[in-house]
């Protein structure tokens, strides 16, 4: 590259701002909580993600499943963030949110859809019991896998499902997060 070409490549000054864009088909926010950073997303007024997954992976999943017009627009998630914060400080026991399990498979939807009815605040259930509730009594392991893929962590309370032995077994946000949530519910 000649000196003139180098000068051309530095022709304009910086200082511009990122663009301002309309409300996206999928809006998301990264929300920092005591149990870790959650990626929250909504589409068409419904919550589609509350996930411990990383930003790149989750936004790509949302782009493929819903629309590629995915933007970081925290304002669209204000109500979700407020309700989560209230829950995480013991001031809320249920969520008043419309959800859409668009990121879940049909079997995951079967497991997750009615989970709030199969569990209650402050009480745990087991993978086997959930399997029984959905008339798949032998599918405890598959239920565990479906719960592990819950795209709406905390909002759909998969943390309330534990092993038959009482062991916490696993959680997308890590066992410390699961323990925190169960302790929170047992105290409140």
């Amino acid at each position: 590259m000649t000196d003139l070409e180098r000068r051309l490549s530095r022709l304009t000054p910086g200082g511009a701002r990122p663009p301002v864009l309309p409300t996206a088909d999928v809006s998301y926010a990264l929300h920092h909580t005591p149990v870790g950073t959650l990626l929250l997303a909504s589409a068409g007024g419904r919550v589609v993600a509350s996930s411990f997954g990383d930003e790149e992976t989750m936004t790509n999943r949302l782009a493929q499943a819903i629309s590629p017009r995915v933007l970081r627009q925290p304002g669209a998630l204000d109500d979700v963030r407020r309700q989560l914060d209230e829950y995480l400080t013991g001031q809320r026991k249920t969520f008043e949110l419309s959800v859409d399990l668009v990121l879940a498979t049909p079997f995951q939807r079967l497991v997750l859809n009615d989970l709030p009815d199969h569990t209650s605040y402050g009480r745990t259930t087991t993978y086997g019991q959930v399997a029984g509730e959905i008339d798949r009594p032998k599918a405890a392991r598959a239920v565990g896998t479906a719960l592990g893929a819950n795209p709406l962590c905390i909002v759909i309370p998969c943390h309330r499902v534990i092993g038959a032995s009482g062991a916490l077994t696993g959680y997308a946000g890590g066992l410390d997060a699961k323990r925190f949530l169960l302790n929170l519910e047992s105290k409140s």
Binding site: A16, P19, A63
Partner: protein
Amino acid sequence: MVSEKVKLPPFQALVDDHWRDVARLARALAGPVDGDDVAQRAWEKAFAAYPNLTSARNLRSWLLTITTRCATDLHRARKPQTPLDDAPPIAVDGPDAADWPDPDLWQAVKDLPERQRVAVTLKYVGDLDHHGVAAALDTTPAASRRLVSDALATLRTKLGVNHD
């Protein structure tokens, strides 16, 4: 809403990766004040068109092409009777050239014929290859080479620099 064949990345990734490049190119094409408006318009157009894209390749080049067309639209809107090839040097408003990092060069680029100015800006500010420049200008890579070569020759003469 999503094409079965094209896996487009989330639009936020395009914004994060390329907004600075779009802003720099828009300013270089339309000047310090109109440049920011051109960049904003380019992003709005890209956002509207994005779900219908048939390829996820060369998204940066696609964005810079939209930016170029927005700058050209603005220029034509201000001089509606003038064909692009014969357009006089762009009349940029806003701060004096002395406010820019290389005011002599900025003035010399502004004074280039329109297509040479756009081509040389896409090549060096936009860092596009001649295929990308050609796509943005609806021409061939060979024509892009000529435009850039002619622009460099004019700039060297005007600025009194050697072909080093």
